[in-house]
């Protein structure tokens, strides 16, 4: 999810409101719902003008006029009293909408107030209000309504009151949880910290953020109220003289429309209800999507097949690193000129462009870059795990003599985890919360080795957990019972379960405490030594890289900035970005040194500068940097950088 959010984020709109309209217009559901609703609202408002007959008048009606089929004079036919169904339909829209809107208003007001108060104040107030809501929720509506109607009069306003008074429970719950969510956000704490009182906070910070969900909920409550009114009318509990669709159905049903075959008397009001409820539901659901954009994409949607873009960037001979631990180590992965794009309709966003690197047995390569530089995308591309919009548009990924980009889904499934496994950032979300950790490890083993003896499974799981320092007793625990660090270790244990050749660790220590981070890094280093694992270590932390990597690939804006062995990167970096990044990194060995920073911020992938991606922030940029994107220059064997300044110095 993290990946998609970072890289599929829509272009930033100018203000929340224009953004809203733009997204609203693009949401087919919302637009369809709104149009459908407007049609009916228009009819209701101008009922007097539109309706050809007065729905209350019996003038000229004779017994032969009853239940006449649709004709030129009566578009929707006539009803049980010989009146024009179309006219009643139009006027019925008015009353149905009135009931819907006013009842919803009452519900929303009560539910909203309860929800906000309960959510905001918590404690006893919340306890009381929510318990009360729970009580209201279990009390059956219908007997209450019958009692209410028996005590009052079955008039339209009483019906509105009843529906409104009984319909607020869901609203209260939704608003409460939204309020809780908003309340826990830091800006509320900040408002407190500046000294704002409860009233101020509710008014200025809670309500504006609860309002969208309230509006969405209100729309759905309106539709429920309209349905309720029709049901009450059908049960004979509404005002028979208030022409509403429910009442039309009541008359049609009570006075034999169907046995006459007068389908029009039933279909017209029924259609009206379905139309409005559908319109409101569409609008509500659409609005929800607009206000609370959720990715309509998920991990099981078929991905886009890799294509060969043909734009083979001239990339100098394979980089050879001198600090390889074992001289005889074989190359396990050769990534050549890989480009990845996110395709959205006709637009393409280039997330990764022409990145190449090689990985040898037992090597630990650090992939360094700031947020949004495309490093996670590249890793997902290696395993063909890109989200549905992502596509490998160029390059080859050679593993074990095979090009991973050309494999079928079934073939790549076999390679995943067995040969190349991956540890994601944020292990809380990467483990299934409702299955035990041991179970999830076993699953991977059985998947890739169905013949694995059942008896050995337990032992193997315990063995793997032991490898990462988790006591055997924890194997039957659920992820939430693990601490953050343990979860990340469990992920690593799981990643090792099929003895992969390559382990991709995507920011495995971000958001962890320094000590835990150290524990994990230590563990990875040890595993590499023990198992001869090749590791791709993705991070934004230069310090970590310096501590343990053999080689480093620095990415910026989707391209390789610099690629070399670790010593070169730290002691003779050639790309200004690498240089300045190093200066910005705190070094406790020299605490007095004043930290530098790079002004500006990393480019957004959908708004890349035309020339060098780093040019806008680069202190050494010159004209060419702005207009021309530098190619990779090989400065020496195993050291490449994409900077015009390196041109002359390349071999």
């Amino acid at each position: 999810m993290a990946v998609q959010e970072l890289e599929l984020k829509p272009a930033v709109p100018a203000s929340p409101l224009t953004g809203f309209w733009k997204m609203f217009r693009e949401n087919r559901m919302a637009v369809a719902g709104l149009v459908m609703l407007l049609v009916i609202v228009f009819a209701a408002v101008f009922a007097d003008v539109i309706a050809p007959y007065n729905p209350r008048s019996y003038e000229g009606i004779q017994s032969g006029d009853i239940y006449n089929p649709p004709s030129a004079t009566h578009w929707f036919g006539t009803d049980d009293a010989g009146k024009d169904v179309f006219s009643s339909f139009i006027f019925g829209a008015r009353n149905s909408l009135i009931v819907g809107f006013f009842a919803a208003f009452i519900s929303i007001f009560i539910g909203g107030t309860f929800g906000v108060l309960a959510g905001f104040y918590g404690g006893r107030i919340e306890n009381f209000l929510m318990r009360f809501t729970d009580l209201m929720l279990v009390i059956p509506d219908l007997p209450l309504i019958v009692i209410f109607v028996a005590l009052t009069k079955p008039s339209l306003w009483n019906i509105i009151l009843v529906i409104g008074l009984l319909g607020w429970t869901t609203t209260a719950r939704i608003v409460r949880s939204q309020t809780l969510a908003v309340k826990s956000r830091k800006f509320v704490l900040r408002a407190r910290a500046i000294g704002a009182g409860n009233g101020h906070i509710i008014l200025h910070h809670i309500l504006p953020l609860v309002m969208p969900i309230l509006v969405v909920n209100a729309i759905l409550v309106i539709s429920l109220a309209i349905l309720s009114e029709s049901t009450l009318a059908f049960l004979g509990l509404s005002d028979p003289l208030a022409i509403s669709w429910g009442q039309m159905l009541n008359f049609a049903f009570g006075r034999g429309a169907m046995s006459v075959g007068a389908w029009w008397a039933l279909v017209a009001p029924g259609f009206g209800i379905v139309w409005v409820v559908l319109a409101l539901t569409l609008l509500g659901n659409g609005l929800e999507q607009v206000l609370n954009p959720r990715l309509e994409a998920h991990h099981l949607m078929p991905g886009r097949l890799p294509v060969w873009g043909g734009e083979a960037e001239s990339y100098p001979a394979t980089a050879v690193r001198k600090s390889r631990r074992r001289k005889d180590a074989a190359m396990v992965l050769d990534v050549r000129n890989v480009s990845v794009a996110y395709v959205n309709g006709n637009s393409q966003v280039k997330a990764v462009q022409n990145v190449s690197f090689q990985l040898y047995e037992g090597e630990l390569i650090g992939l360094v870059g700031e947020s949004g530089c495309g490093k996670t995308t590249l890793m997902l591309a290696l395993l063909r795990l890109l989200p549905a919009a992502g596509q490998i548009v160029n390059g080859q990924i050679l593993f074990d003599g095979r090009d991973l980009t050309s494999l079928s889904e079934a073939e790549i499934s076999d390679i995943r985890w067995k040969d190349i496994s991956i540890v994601f950032q944020g292990a809380m979300n990467a483990l299934n919360p409702v299955r035990t950790v041991g179970d999830q490890i076993k699953e991977a083993i059985v998947k890739h080795n169905p013949a694995f003896p059942q008896k050995r499974l337990e032992t193997r799981v315990i063995e793997l957990l032991g490898l990462v320092g988790i006591p055997a007793a924890y194997k039957d625990h659920f992820p939430h019972q693990y601490s953050g660090g343990m979860r990340q270790r469990a992920m690593i244990a799981m990643a090792l379960s099929c003895n992969p050749k390559i382990l991709i660790a995507d920011e495995p220590t971000t958001a962890l405490d320094v000590m835990i981070q150290a524990q994990i890094l230590d563990l990875l280093d040890e595993l590499r030594a023990q198992l001869g694992l090749a590791i791709i270590f993705v991070t934004h932390d230069l310090g970590v890289v310096a501590e343990m990597c053999d080689s480093v690939l620095v990415m910026y804006g989707g391209v390789t900035a610099e690629y070399a062995d670790v010593d070169t990167i730290y002691n003779s970096p050639r790309h200004p970005y690498t240089q300045e990044l190093l200066k910005a990194f705190p070094d406790l060995s020299r605490p007095e040194r004043k930290l530098a920073f790079i002004p500006g911020h990393p480019p957004k992938l959908d708004a890349l500068p035309p020339g060098c991606r780093f040019a806008p922030r680069c202190s050494q940029a010159f004209e060419r940097c702005v207009s021309e994107m530098p190619r990779l220059y090989e400065l020496k064997a195993g050291h490449v950088a994409s900077c015009h300044l390196a041109e002359g110095k390349s071999r």
Binding site: I139, S223, S230, L249, I415, F424
Partner: protein, 356 residues
Amino acid sequence: MNSASPVGLERIVPLNRYRYLLNKVGWSVFTILFVLVLNFFLFRVLPGDPARALTKDPRMKEAAREALRVRFGLDKPVINCFDSLTPIKLGDCGVNPLETQFFIYIKNLLQGELGISYKTNRAVSEILVERLWNTILLIGAGQILSIFVGIALGVLAAWKARTAIDYGALFTGLVAWSLPTFWLGIIILFWGSSHGFPIGGKATPGIGAYPFLQQAGDIARHMFLPTLAYTIVFMGEYLLVMRSSLLDVLAEDYILTAKAKGLSAFQILKDHALKNAMLPIVTIIAINLGFTVAGAIQIEAVFSWPGLGGAIFEAVESRDYPVLQGAFLLIAVSVILANLIADLTYTYLDPRVQSE
């Protein structure tokens, strides 16, 4: 001052699982007690005199009227004034509390008696129990079908998100959700009756003398239309919730993990997505089940199905308050129990649920 602990600290404080369950059970018991009391007083507010509807008829003599009041226990004071509650006076003082309607109501409840129907002169508990089984039969079949169909379509829609299948299922779900139940029932009734399906009732009267298989077949034929209507109505909701729930789950990182593990789409759905996505549905199903003990009032009314819903419909039409009162209690209690079951199921399905 805000006494909530800072975010993040809550997790360290796991509530004992049993304590959680006991909490839930305790609350349910309290709710039931509340409903008992509410149920009593709610129906006392009414002009709830069985003689009332007949009162206009000159054939009704005063003695008969009085006898009816006695029979329905309305001659007794509603409630006494609890001395200990002074100065709040609930009712008349100087009344033997055991002789009040309230205590008789409670006493009868403890013996499983819910009063006597104004209209049919029969014990309400008898009427309700008789009807309950029919309702369970119809609602059971309808719920099972709608759950399966709704969830299956919801899963399909989410899996094939943003394809024609998804849009088709979504539209179906939205339309099904928008249909007024009774209206759909009427339409189905008349469609079905012209295609040879029985128009109403649970079975052909007199079928009781036939062999079991024929009886079952007859009941099945009678059930077909109402079950169909019921399934369509509820399927929509399940479909929509399942779709959106599964869409959320499928976008989770652990699905990506599962995919990275090399699992096939089917395996991922089955082993990783479904259980998680079912969580929100469980509550909805439980609440629906609770409320449907009341019977699908509209459907039972349209199809003359002799279930609880039909009984409530008739009670509403004839203002048979004791039956309504009994039904009220039954529905409320079953909803409370269903909620409790949902909570308990939740703790089983979702190991994370431990504290509120």
